[in-house]
């Protein structure tokens, strides 16, 4: 090679790198290792984790474990999708472009919104992008978070807003549903109101009134939704949201310790030129055949640089593909079945757990597939008391910050929890409470 290049030595090629900057020896990273050796190491680490395949886990709060049909893995692992990149050359990227167009169509359909983008990093960053979009119109520089919102979403929102001098205000007493009185007081100088339903406590709320009031007072309405819930409940579009965001990981992808995730972003038509991230549009090719391309590219960072609507460069393509395959397999009936089963199973579990001595449900409002349980002792003790039975009964709310009562346990039930799982849960929690 060197001869063909016309260089005496490799060092000649890297001559511009000052010698004192070059590593003289090897990095301290050990020798090359065989696949088998690596598998031994990583399998040992993986085996230390209490995962959903080995435990009966009733964990939700932003990451939901739904069944993934085999065809999703089979198709999404195809090299053609898996080892391609951003379809910069539309002629050899129609596979990816078409699936993203289908993804956008499905997201629009699911949310009842006019349009959806090709996805963002995760639900929390999607919320932050929606807030920044709303605030970019100026001059208002506050974002109101109404009702119980996932604390991590609020934290990411706060981090990304602070950079641009935008203040996030939350209802400090949020417990249950949106407090309209609190909202009325702060709304005056807010660029947007964000509300979650089903919310962090699992409760479902009709946000139409909240959103109408927001718009009357000159603020944008942002709905943080849960995709499976939309098979049963009023959509962001039906409730009058301007922007709708959510976490789409549960649509055909495993929890994977929280990522890679799938940020869902949908909007009303009037915001199309402010949308962050990639948009795929339909067109025709030179011969008049239908084709798909990346469109409205002048919003994006590689063209518009510091005037771009966001700095995002990729989407979560593979996760969007998985969601598209998943939703194709489920169809309207399957999505509704999953949602109904989540609903029924969660209510059955809630009823049984709430009937245990000393336990009660924290809230009375309608809920979807998660709820907050008040325990007769600290929730973390209930969780450790269940471990020997192979049950993880939920998340102690205090893990989300010191502001939460120690006795509150956040429980999630999906279609994957069959009756014997729920019976095991009830028994383990009951025994853990007795100590």
């Amino acid at each position: 090679m060197l001869e063909a290049i016309g260089a005496e030595s490799f060092e000649e090629l890297i001559a511009p790198v000052p010698e004192q900057l070059r590593l003289s020896g090897l990095l301290d990273l050990g020798p090359p290792r065989s696949e088998y050796e690596i598998a031994r190491t990583l399998e040992a680490w993986a085996a230390r984790n209490h995962h959903g395949g080995a435990y009966r886990a009733f964990l939700g709060a932003g990451s939901y474990d739904h069944f993934v049909p085999a065809a999703v893995d089979h198709l999404s692992f195809r090299s053609e999708f898996y080892t391609a990149y951003t379809p910069y050359q539309a002629e050899v990227g129609q596979g990816t472009l078409t699936t993203i167009f289908e993804f956008q169509s499905m997201m629009s359909e699911l949310t009842g919104m006019d349009l959806a983008n090709a996805s963002l990093y995760d639900g929390a960053t999607a919320l932050a992008e929606a807030a920044l979009l709303a605030a970019a119109a100026g001059p208002r520089s506050r974002i109101a978070v109404a009702g119980p919102m996932h604390p991590h979403y609020v934290q990411v929102l706060t981090t990304l807003c602070r950079g641009q001098g935008i203040e996030v205000v939350c209802d400090p007493a949020a417990d249950g549903l949106v407090d309209r009185g609190w909202l009325r007081d702060v709304l005056g100088d807010c660029a947007a109101v964000a509300a979650q339903s089903p919310n962090f406590h699992g409760l479902v709320e009709d946000l139409s009134g909240v959103f109408a009031e927001a718009r009357d007072r000159g603020a944008r309405a942002i709905h943080v939704f849960e995709p499976h819930a939309l098979a049963l409940y009023r959509t962001p579009g039906e409730m009058g949201a301007d922007l709708a965001v959510g976490e789409g990981l549960s649509l055909g992808s495993p929890p994977s310790f929280g990522g890679p995730a799938l940020g869902l972003f949908a909007a009303r038509q009037e915001f199309v030129r402010q949308v962050p991230g990639r948009l795929i549009g339909e067109t025709v090719d030179r011969n008049g055949a239908r084709a798909f391309v990346m469109t409205l590219r002048t919003r994006e960072q590689d063209i518009r640089r510091e005037r771009a609507t966001s700095n995002i460069c990729t989407n979560q393509g593979l996760l969007a593909l998985r969601a598209t395959i998943y939703l194709s397999l489920m169809g309207p009936k399957g999505m509704r079945d999953v949602a109904e089963q989540c609903l029924e199973r969660a209510h059955y579990a809630a009823e049984r757990l709430g009937a245990l001595p000393g336990f009660r449900l924290r809230h009375r409002a309608p809920f979807f597939h998660e709820f907050v349980l008040e325990c007769p002792r600290p929730a973390r003790e209930i969780v450790s008391g269940c471990r020997a039975a192979g049950v993880i009964p939920g998340i102690p709310l205090e893990r989300f910050g010191a502001g939460h009562q120690a006795t509150l346990l956040h429980v999630c039930v999906t279609e994957k929890h069959l009756r014997d799982d729920i019976e095991a849960l009830v028994q383990a929690v009951g025994e853990a409470a007795r100590g």
Partner: protein, 486 residues
């Protein structure tokens, strides 16, 4: 294009999957979902069987170019081969089925992996404090810019300008703006490099940081990097490295030693995790020790072999991701680092540089090179000669598709006219490089002798030159049932 949309294959009543029967007492939707909360519109998803779904997506997949098929010399994107063992490791149930809010004693293996990867990246970059939370390179840039702001604010300094060369990736200025700061453009010199004097003059009391890509986007190492870093530090600014081009440096030189205080890494580039059709990637950042307190929360801390999550970091910029970033990508990257070990990683940059220089030597005669001399892991050709023959860089890119290759990055960097940015990576054999070189030489000859052949390319792809102007003018971002009737 022959493949219909999945919506167009829908038959009412068909379904692709079946659920277990409900085995708990049913209370019924009427009881559980009050009417005013219920979805009003029908859910217009396609109704198709599993075989239809499998054929549809399989047929769509045939329309993609991808690394497992052939050469993908997309400059700045490092389209190297993705070893399959990476995916097997990420799919281990202990990782893939792990819920992020599992009690901390039940995630010790995941946290161990995070800490091991943090340490490996610290060793590779020479910057000791690492956060794996950023989900992509652009998010790493933003995270670091927020760290820079917090750092200066803590020192009572009001700095809101970031110097960025005109050759930089578009994400750089966009990330700076998202962090609430201003991008100040620095002109490259006639050799496509930073001019220390120009940098010196731009630095001032408002400069928070300088963002540099090194090797830069022209594919050359900044020879004055130490001088530039010293000047930036003298002015009180932080030096940031856009690590997109780390494939040229891994195992060869450490950014920490060059005077960089902070950087991001693209795990989907340098560390071989699959690009997935445009994500997921991962964009960890590595910073100087005294910047550690500003990194995102939660941090993973090890005490006597036990790992815990630490949220109590008052100086932290806060949380950047709903959970811990793109964990599945982290598993793949650590697998890659373990596979190669130190000697293998050094071979990565060596072979990437050798491959790029070899390809450059084969193309030097047929195309112009704005900035001559050896390159690092990539190089930028200029189709100025072909432009005079009526053939643009974009035409050459399209013609390459007929030869079964992906095109280079086209019209970037902005400082090179008719740019074709080529990054072969270390994965390619000399045989592949030769085939690609022959194609490029053939196209150059066609441009001179039969320019129409190039200008009307591609000739063999599933679709040909889709009308982008029409897509933007007659915006159609979704399928609707009315489309059936068209």
């Amino acid at each position: 294009m022959a493949e219909n949309l999945i919506f167009e294959r829908s038959h009412p009543g068909t379904r692709g999957t079946l659920l277990s029967a409900l085995d708990v007492p049913a209370r019924g939707l009427e009881a559980l979902v009050p009417q005013d909360l219920a979805r009003q519109a029908p859910l217009g998803l396609p109704e198709v069987s599993e075989p239809v779904v499998v054929r549809h997506f399989t047929n769509l997949s045939y329309l993609n170019h991808h690394v497992d098929k052939d050469f993908y010399p997309l400059g700045s994107c490092t389209m190297k081969y993705n070893p399959k063992v990476n995916d097997r490791m990420a799919a281990l149930p202990g990782f893939s089925l792990l819920h992020p809010m599992t009690p901390v004693e039940g995630v010790q293996g995941a946290l161990a992996l995070i800490v091991h990867l943090e340490r490996a990246l610290a060793e590779i970059t020479g910057l000791p404090a690492v956060s794996l939370q950023p989900a992509a390179g652009a998010q790493g840039e933003l995270t670091a810019m927020l760290v820079a702001r917090a750092y200066h604010a803590d020192r009572g300094e009001d700095r809101d300008e970031v110097l960025i060369p005109d050759s930089a990736h578009g994400t750089n200025p966009a990330s700076v703006r998202m962090a609430g700061m201003k991008a100040v453009e620095i002109k490259s010199n006639a050799r496509g490099r930073l001019d220390p004097e120009v940098v010196q003059n731009a630095l001032g009391p408002r400069t928070a940081a300088m963002m540099i890509t090194n090797p830069n986007t022209v594919g050359v190492f900044e020879p004055n990097i130490e001088k530039v870093a010293a000047a930036a530090h003298e002015a009180g600014a932080l030096m940031y490295l856009d690590g997109a081009n780390m494939n040229a440096l891994v195992g060869l030189a450490r950014p920490g030693a060059m005077g960089f205080d902070m950087m991001h890494l693209n795990l989907h580039k340098t560390f071989s995790t699959p690009h997935g059709g445009g994500g997921p990637g991962a964009g960890p950042i590595a910073v100087r020790e005294d910047l550690r307190p500003y990194l995102p929360v939660p941090a993973v801390v090890e005490e006597n072999g036990v790992y815990r999550l630490d949220d109590d970091r008052p100086q932290s910029i806060g949380r950047m991701h709903g959970f811990f970033g793109n964990f599945g990508v982290l598993v793949r990257a650590l697998t890659y680092i373990l596979s190669l070990g130190a000697p293998g990683l050094r071979e990565v940059s060596r072979n990437a540089i050798l491959n790029a220089n070899y390809l450059l030597s084969r193309l030097r005669e047929s195309y112009d090179l704005k900035y001559p001399g050896p390159c690092m892991h990539e190089f930028v050709l200029s189709a100025t000669r072909q432009k005079k023959q009526g053939v643009r860089a974009a035409d050459i890119s399209k013609r390459l598709l007929d030869f079964g290759f992906h095109a280079p990055t086209t019209y970037f960097p902005l400082i090179v006219e008719e740019a074709l940015m080529i990054e072969p990576t270390e994965s390619e054999t000399r045989g592949t490089l030769d085939r690609f070189a022959e194609a490029m030489i053939t196209i150059a000859r066609e441009a001179a002798e039969d320019p129409e052949q190039v200008k009307s390319a591609p000739h063999t792809t599933p679709v040909i030159r889709p009308d982008e102007a029409r897509a933007a003018r007659r915006l159609r971002l979704r399928w609707t049932p009315e489309d059936e009737d068209r």
